[in-house]
């Protein structure tokens, strides 16, 4: 009954989405206020019904309704309640339902916080988002219905992949989708601007906070995914350049370029074509990502589905949405007149440089991700493009971007002189270079990439300080600085922290792979690890060999770690549950490998010391906070408040 209700709710949502898309778009074209005003209620109605569908699916999981195919394939009666709930989005169908709910959520948010926007703009934005909703709802209902029944029902489910049974699963997908899907708002604003032919600074001002918030969520989602993989997968890595990871990283790069480009369009009316194109690109990359991980076109450890039939549907959808938007772009391109002029080292010039570098990096990631497919499609064999390629290519490309991050915020708009900038920054430059050269010597040896990484993070850190100093010197006080400024500084600082963390951990991490008998010890990075054997441990839906490893330093016992080797009851799948212990900013990481003898007294154990790895996550959090802060700047909130009394006046009149 409940699954059928959910199915029905999806159909109603589709009907509402069609209403939300068709009528307002026609209305905006014709200037018909009645048709345009359908947008808001239709959008909000669609949200209500997608949520109902979601609740129905979640309910089916929570009560172990194995007559629903999705529940039978992804859940298990012994699965803890929390994971039964997260299993709602743990499959291809379920995650698409989450997509649709989150898209409806963003649409509703736009419908609520858009009182100050002209009616035709709102109608177009909501209409375009409605078109996207239609695509996904049709896809869901025709090829990926989460409410399909499985009769006769099996006795029990096939269990959720053990790797997903971690609380990273609870927040990583929703946050990621909030970002990924949130770029649809920027996309819709761009399309609305293209349709109306009004591509002025106002459009950039309106879409900027939405874009920044989506970007912040995406940053959070990617960071969480990386952190989760680090803790869950047991080999100590935190980024593998897997196609699915790249599928989320590419929209992030485009989104970063977009929020910077929007700044120029908002402030100076320049870069209109760039900004529009970036807005289209960011969301297109989100859609591309959806295609890549569900079509089976690339081999990924994270693929949701490898179904060419579904892939064909998504591809057709991509052609419609992205192709359509690019046709619109080409058509309106002549109308996008440029703004004012600017000189070589003006902020516009530097931001343009930033855009260029970020897009080159984006191109590199896209090239590497798609190259195996390109070669195969041309019949020229099969090759793999993995981390060695991406690391070799991406890191050098980031160099100019990181450098620009330092000078960009300090450059003046329109005109800036190089000698002036050099004199302001000469100390920062000198200290950065010195740090880069000297710091590695105090650590574990001179490594060229470490030099580069330290120099860059110190550079960004110092230029952030210079930014504060200059503003304060000019009469501002910390409390009067805008949130926009604070947000920017915080986000850039977060980048510096992240880069520093990556530099240290990538260059100075150590690991040992040892065979340990009970009582054996091994030494790593000044710590001594003593193996005390394993005990049998029974979890809610697994059996585990629970190891005990004592960590001591200078003979003093510090902590006891409990890495586990689990076998899950339903699937028989083994899983390594590493034990990770943060020590200030470092991590001590212990994972059990395989038992090396019959009685499981001797084990292969892997111990890692990951110095400063937590700076990676801390830096990401700073970026997220910076993003949210910048989006909540007064000038966006005042616009909303000011519109309210005028709207009231209009109603009263």
């Amino acid at each position: 009954m409940i699954p059928e209700l959910g199915h029905f709710a999806l159909i109603v949502a589709l009907l509402l989405a069609i209403t939300q898309a068709v009528l307002p778009l026609i209305g905006a074209q014709r200037g018909n206020l009645t048709l345009m005003s359908v947008a808001r209620p239709a959008a909000q109605g669609q949200f209500v019904f997608t949520v109902i569908a979601f609740i129905c699916l979640a309910y089916s999981f929570l009560v172990n309704d194995f007559t629903v195919e999705n529940v039978a394939s992804n859940s298990f009666s012994q699965l803890p309640e929390l994971y039964r709930f997260t299993a709602t989005w743990g499959s291809h169908e379920g995650s698409l339902l989450l997509w649709v709910v989150i898209l409806a959520f963003w649409t509703t948010a736009v419908s609520v916080f858009s009182r100050h926007l002209p009616d035709d703009m709102v109608a177009r934005v909501l209409g375009v988002m409605g078109l996207i909703s239609i695509g996904f709802l049709v896809f869901l209902l025709t090829t990926s219905n989460p409410f399909d029944r499985l009769l006769p029902a099996p006795m029990d489910g096939r269990d959720m992949n053990p790797l997903l049974q971690d609380w990273g699963m609870i927040i990583h997908p929703p946050m990621l989708y909030m970002g990924y899907v949130g770029f649809a708002v920027a996309f819709a604003f761009a399309i609305a601007a293209l349709l109306s032919g009004r591509l002025d600074a106002a459009w950039a001002r309106w879409s900027r906070p939405w874009t920044t918030v989506a970007w912040a969520f995406l940053t959070l989602g990617i960071a969480l995914g990386s952190w989760w993989a680090y803790r869950e997968l047991g080999w100590g890595g935190w980024w593998f350049w897997d196609p699915t990871e790249n599928a989320s990283f590419m929209p992030w790069i485009a989104g970063t370029a977009l929020i910077h480009s929007l700044a120029v369009t908002e402030k100076r009316g320049a870069f209109k074509a760039w900004t529009v194109l970036l807005a289209l690109t960011a969301f297109s990359l989100s859609l591309l990502g959806t295609f890549l991980v569900r079509s089976g076109v690339l081999s990924s450890v994270h693929a949701f589905a490898t179904d060419p039939a579904r892939g064909a549907f998504i591809l057709a959808f991509l052609v419609l949405v992205i192709g359509g938007s690019l046709v619109l772009y080409a058509w309106r391109a002549p109308k996008m007149l440029s703004g004012g002029g600017f000189t070589w080292f003006s902020r516009e010039a530097l931001l343009l440089g930033n855009n260029v570098v970020l897009l080159a990096a984006l191109g590199a990631v896209l090239l590497g991700t798609l190259y195996p497919l390109l070669i195969d499609a041309l019949g020229m064999g099969k090759i793999s493009v993995g981390p060695p390629y991406f690391n070799a290519v991406f890191v050098p490309l980031m160099a100019p971007a990181l450098f620009l991050m330092g000078i960009g915020p300090l450059a003046r708009w329109k005109e800036a002189s190089l000698p002036d900038m050099v004199s302001r920054l000469k100390w920062a430059l000198a200290i950065s270079v010195a740090t880069g050269l000297l710091l590695p010597l105090t650590l574990d040896g001179f490594k060229p990439w470490a030099v580069f990484g330290f120099a860059m993070s110190m550079w960004i850190f110092l230029t952030v300080l210079v930014g504060f100093r200059e503003r304060l010197k000019n009469g501002a006080r910390l409390s009067t600085l805008t949130r926009s400024f604070w947000g920017m500084q915080l986000a850039h600082l977060g980048m510096a922290v992240g880069v520093a963390g990556i530099t240290v951990v990538a260059n100075y991490e150590v690991e040992r792979d040892v065979r340990m008998d009970i009582g054996d010890h091994t030494e790593l990075a000044g710590y001594t690890f003593t193996f005390r054997g394993t005990t049998e441990h029974v979890g809610p839906n697994y059996r585990a060999a629970r190891g005990t490893v004592e960590v001591s330093k200078n003979g003093k016992k510090l902590y006891v770690l409990h890495p586990e080797k689990r076998i899950y009851n339903a699937s028989g799948m083994p899983m390594t549950e590493a034990s990770v212990r943060p020590v200030l900013f470092d991590d001590i990481y212990v994972a059990l490998g395989e038992p090396l003898d019959e009685e499981a007294k001797t084990w292969a154990v892997r111990v890692f010391h990951k110095p400063f790895i937590n700076w990676l996550w801390i830096g990401s959090l700073l970026m997220v906070v910076g993003g949210f802060l910048a989006a909540s700047d007064r000038r966006y909130r005042i616009a909303v408040k000011a519109a309210a009394p005028t709207a009231a006046a209009a109603q009263g009149a």
């Binding site: 260029v356 010890h521 000044g526």
Partner: protein, 157 residues
């Protein structure tokens, strides 16, 4: 074999190890008998694909074939083969697909040079856009038009 630890306490340990064998007996052995070979093997297998997994490196995979291949790499290295020879050994049997670092050959020229090309292209766009924009700033004001504008303002007072 771990590298030098952070703090200079390693000498204390070595001292203790020498002076108190009774207390410190039971030092765990490396999985591979030879720690130097082990490090080499791990570094190399991080750049190789596990052929039975969806997308994992040979170093990180727990699959049986992966363990066999890691052992085979150890054997090869002990026999004195250098990294290139081990890679050749594997690509002869499994093709280029097993390499996560795409080999540098005509097929992959676009791949390896692509990023630099993108950057160059971008730099070109940056340069030409800036030249255009600079000209916008440097357009001199037409004195006649300025005078006419001033006159209009006077007339409308």
């Amino acid at each position: 074999m771990s590298r030098k630890p952070w703090m200079p306490v390693s000498w204390l340990f070595s001292l203790a190890l020498v002076l108190a064998p009774a207390v410190w007996a039971g030092e765990a052995e490396s999985i591979g008998a030879d720690p130097v070979i082990e490090q080499r093997m791990i570094k190399l297998s991080e750049e190789l694909r596990c052929l039975v997994c969806q997308n994992e490196s040979l170093a990180g995979s727990h699959a049986e074939l992966a363990e066999d291949l890691r052992e085979e790499i150890r054997v090869q290295m002990k026999a004195g083969k250098n990294d290139k020879e081990v890679i050749d050994y594997l690509t002869t049997r499994y093709g280029d697909f097993v390499l996560y670092r795409p080999p540098f050959k005509p097929l992959t020229l676009l791949l390896w040079f692509g990023p630099a090309l993108f950057l160059l292209l971008g730099a070109g766009i940056w340069y030409f856009t800036l030249k255009k924009r600079r000209n916008l700033i440097e357009t001199p004001v037409d004195e006649k038009k300025l005078a006419a504008a001033a006159q209009l303002l006077e007339d409308n007072k």
